[in-house]
Symmetry: D2
Subunit: 393 residues, 4 copies
């Protein structure tokens, strides 16, 4: 049940948009504790236990900053701390989220260099390498890549991006958006040589929206010292100075921090490796259903297929939004919509966060029954295919 | 997530025992409000609004009593208020719950007359009529019938029981256990001429266990005045006297009353007729899955098949409990066990309470995948059959 | 805030009736977890951890039984398990709760022998001893004593009752009601030789109403085997048989068990000795306030003055209920009313459960301001006197 | 109880820092509902009901923007939308929060003109008028004033500031920080001619931290069109465009919106006028206690004394932080610390939000007992003085 609904409530709503995701009861019950004195002694103790958990999640020994804000805010934080107006930044426009980040960079008066893709593949790593190699003057200050492009369901191999940068012997910073990847897909900030990792709370972390994150390399921190971008709220330096003692320069979102702490504990209790494997398993089951229906996924490269969301292409002449409406009304299941050029052409099944095999079976069943109800041409048997995979697994 | 678990939590637990059932978040959030002064003015106002809602649920203009207790306690309340030690009571042993109620009657020094059944059908109404007709001395003081026999998934037609009593021109009281029926199956205390209706909170009312109910006819109330059974806690008279003002003779379970109030509001918001229809639809979908698997239901009479639970008979030589264990461990789904003579021979799929079509698809999927994992012989296609029915409906 | 209120909510309600008491947020958040399968493996594990905690609370190695029910139900359980209709039971009528228990015994067809008191003192231990000594035929089967008489604020020394029984070399069972004492006042079931301890959930255990308890000595258990009282719901034997494995014969109140488990953990985290000392400290502060106001406590014996509730006698000609109404309306504070002969002559300040010094200062301030607003003659300075004690302590 | 604490929990924590404040249970229970699809139809309906409530709170017919963020973020939003690097902004440094806002303006490359005060009075309206009158070139683009300066407990008369601007016939925008005033003190965005009102969620709105607000006049919106400040996250235009339909450009903090909606409903149920009067009453009671103790408030002008927080000056040679530590450890009461030049010289008693007279008596009692325990020289009788006022009121 949501806080507000206009539809009859006859069971639990199935929320399968790619974020916010299903939040465990345990996390909701952490969230709803009374706020505490964010300048008192207990708060500092709590945070000095919480920061290392965040580092473990991001697989880093560098600091991780938490903002009251959204993933969008974390994009801005990454850009305004490391860059100056007019700086060149290389982006690969892999989907709607990459596109929005690029728009933001422009608003922030950065000079965005764009490598286009067909929005059905991961970032073009060869093109990134080539662009950097061509930039012998090293005027490109940063490379911005979306790890898990939530609009298309394609995942970019970040280690490969790093390898391409290194191969080009280029000093550009590597900025990575893993808003929908963190806590669901394998992610290694240090090992992959990421300079700023950008994340949000409402997906793999299994908590509500409202927190944004920046994990910061030493190199990124150094770069921030010479940035001339006007900035205050997102400024890393005062944040890091006081975070050391477990506090924040302005009022933190205490209740969301409780939820974060509990969500992380649950991820570690399951074991990050198990969490990642579970997401891959559910993603594969979903793709088998899509294949059984005779439909196509938006992601055209199986190696890039996402563990967190599957974007499904509608048969020609059928409206994805009409289908989603039928599915919501008849089966109380919320699916993600197609974004940008994919509007009405794609619907997205999120399979991330606090999720079990049976919930997934319900979701796939809801899509299959919805297609039938909406008259969308498909073959039956998607659920059966998914179950065949899940029961042997 | 439950309060306590030894298993990994990777999504929401599927609780499909026939009570307690899935409790809506809205009800849980009512439950967890602080207790209030149960002798203060607000409490009385609250209860004077709540009692009529209970009457609406039971379809009666007579009083409905609420006890801190279980359904078992409500059985006792019905017996000790209306009967005296040594009184003859006619029961129809339709399953394990009828059997337990009979055992209780014996412990309470009542003289139980038992009509046996094969535990695969509803109560034998002809036999009841015959027994009453034969009792020309009217020494049978009451007839005890289980409306929804949760152990077998058979439902007895209470209006027909009343007709049989009337046809025999017999003055016996009609005591009906609808612990698992109320709030899920059509039920009409007044119209069906029931004298005491026995119910519990943890099933169709969509709230946790801990409350028991007696709806009482004028005739039952009259009978209670001459009962010589030692009784105090369950005594109707002092309860009714003070209930009139909205209060209780001893401390009520305040928080469970909050949950009750909210659960009833949700049932009425959906509309009782819609609630009943939803349960029938989910029951039919479940039975179609069972049939598709090539398995048999315990209830052998389609007209008696229950809207709240389906008991499934295991193939010869296979253990129901072993299957349930596999399903719990692999798919985090709790099913009901076989009771009494059905132990290990039957498993029960509850489909009542706060439940949507997609949850049910997940449940049926869990059973099908579990049978495959456990090596239980069956045909595939149960989920497909259920979905075929649900999507056209 | 309560679930339901007719008054404006401008801050947290002060609930200072002697039960239900203030429930910690942590307990409410345990309460509102979804129900679980009470026949599944996790439930058994949970209960096998919970029963020993209950034994620690009652200070016993004997079993402690938990019923869905109220303290009143636990009275009945104690009586119907150990006694038979017509049995003589010796009670000391120390206040309204003793009186109600006696009424129950009569309804259960027991033969209640009553030692009267002035309702301003603890039980008359000499009279108990004398009555037992006079009963050379040992026809008195049990002695029923209220440990903490919630209506008067007097506490009886249970060890002294046991000593009196032993001095009379009488085999009567000792049945003790500590509904409002357990978890707040020192209590030692084994060391004090209690045969049945009767308790409820909604006071010192810091959880909502809805559970009743019986701690049972070997002697009481033996006595239960020869009882001829009709009983089923409260029957110890089937309960104990299945409790051994962590289960219950009928559906337990799962959510209240979650709350119980958490409440006990909190009591042990504070340390029972600290809990008891805190209650004595708050009681003394309250009594100093009453003395400063120039009012009298109902309990006339300082050695018997209760650690959990203080009953205050109104000045002649003034209505306690009118005062309580003013205090509720103007200060949103619920106080206990006078019961039985004390109706309208006494109001009761509960100071038990989850309670801090500052909450208590607020309560005492509310009474003092209320008396002023209601025109009840008193001297100012009650809060000051309480604070003087609390700050030095 | 907080989510995390290192101290024993023996009752409810008293949180009396000036934000976050006590959050009503009703709001916490709204907060902990599952997130919903922020692009789905229900969300839009919810927001189109919520935006008008926000307008009612701010007393405006202009749009009110909600950010995931803190009050600090709302400062930044106000500045980056209306101004351009190098712009002159006139501030009155009335305390620590004004000082921090000025620091932010500098970081954002604005040219801050500062009118100093002694941090014991409201803003110097004559000086503001004089500065504007002197600025015949109208190079001052905005005036920034803190309505309720939380560090000193002084409140500035915003209508008077507007009058001064108008008297100077100066076109500067009026930017007002009422982070700790909104929902507790009278506030009239439209009537007072405010151009941007800056607010946060965690004070008078009675909800947790995590949301920031900008109420925007038509003139401010017009100014935003010519601002050259790099901005994206805080950019009003895309926000307003999509807010019209009830949606947000990036993921909103859904759960905090539930809390906001419920908190506003509670404020309107009490009635804003009653809410404001209650705050004034509690503030006066607090000041009477301070006077009775023989201590001084930081705010030296009675007409400016705040309805939300009272800053108390320590006797010479005594440490405010040591006192706060004693009060926290002995009485579980969190008070605000002295900020900036007031560090260790002032402690602050917050009396805003969801608060009753009895809670306030507890708080004042805690301070009085704490001063006694810590050996801080004072006269007794603060609580008595507060109660004298509150009971006659």
């Amino acid at each position: 049940m949501a806080y507000f609904t206009t539809r009859p409530e006859t069971g639990r709503h199935f929320l399968h948009i790619p974020g916010p995701t299903n939040v465990p009861d345990r996390v909701l019950r952490a969230l709803d504790n009374p706020p505490m004195d964010h300048r008192g002694p207990d708060f500092g103790v709590m945070m000095l236990q919480l920061f290392p958990k965040l580092q473990q999640l991001f697989q880093t020994t560098s600091p991780v900053i938490v903002y009251p804000g959204s993933g969008t805010g974390s994009w801005e934080a990454a850009l305004v701390n490391t860059l100056s107006p007019g700086d060149r930044v290389l982006f690969c426009r892999t989907g709607q989220f990459a596109a929005s980040w690029i728009e933001m960079a422009k608003k922030l008066q950065l000079n965005a260099e764009i490598i286009e893709t067909d929005w059905r593949h991961a970032a073009d790593i060869d093109a990134i390498g080539a662009a950097l190699a061509a930039d012998t003057a090293h005027s490109i200050k940063a490379v911005g890549v979306v790890h898990s492009e939530t609009s298309t369901g394609c995942v970019t191999d970040i280690a490969a991006v790093r390898a391409a940068i290194d191969a080009a012997r280029h000093p550009a910073l590597l900025l990575v958006d893993t808003v929908s990847g963190i806590g669901a897909l394998e992610y290694r900030h240090d090992e992959w040589g990421v300079d700023v990792t950008i994340a949000g709370s409402q997906k793999g972390m299994m908590m509500p929206p409202g927190l944004g994150f920046n994990a910061i390399s030493a190199k990124a921190l150094e770069a921030s010292k010479s940035s001339t971008m006007p900035r205050a709220y997102w400024h890393w330096q005062p944040m890091l100075a006081i975070n050391k003692n477990g506090y924040f320069p302005s009022t933190p979102a205490t209740n969301l921090l409780y939820a974060l702490d509990t969500g992380l504990d649950m991820l570690f209790a399951e074991g990050l490796e198990n969490v990642f494997a579970r997401h891959q398993r559910f993603a594969e089951a979903t793709r088998r259903a899509v294949a059984a229906w005779g439909l196509e996924t938006q992601c055209a490269d199986p190696r890039a297929a996402s563990g967190v969301v599957t974007a499904v292409r509608m048969p020609q002449g059928h409206s994805a939004d009409a289908l989603r409406r039928v599915i919501l009304e008849k089966f109380d299941l919320s699916l993600g919509n197609g974004l940008g050029v994919m509007t009405d052409k794609v619907f997205r099944i999120a399979h991330l966060g606090h999720l079990s095999a049976l919930q997934l079976v319900g979701v796939i069943g809801g899509v299959e029954m919805g297609m039938r109800a909406a008259g969308v041409p498909h073959r039956e048997g998607g659920v059966q295919a998914a179950m065949g995979y899940l029961s042997g697994n």
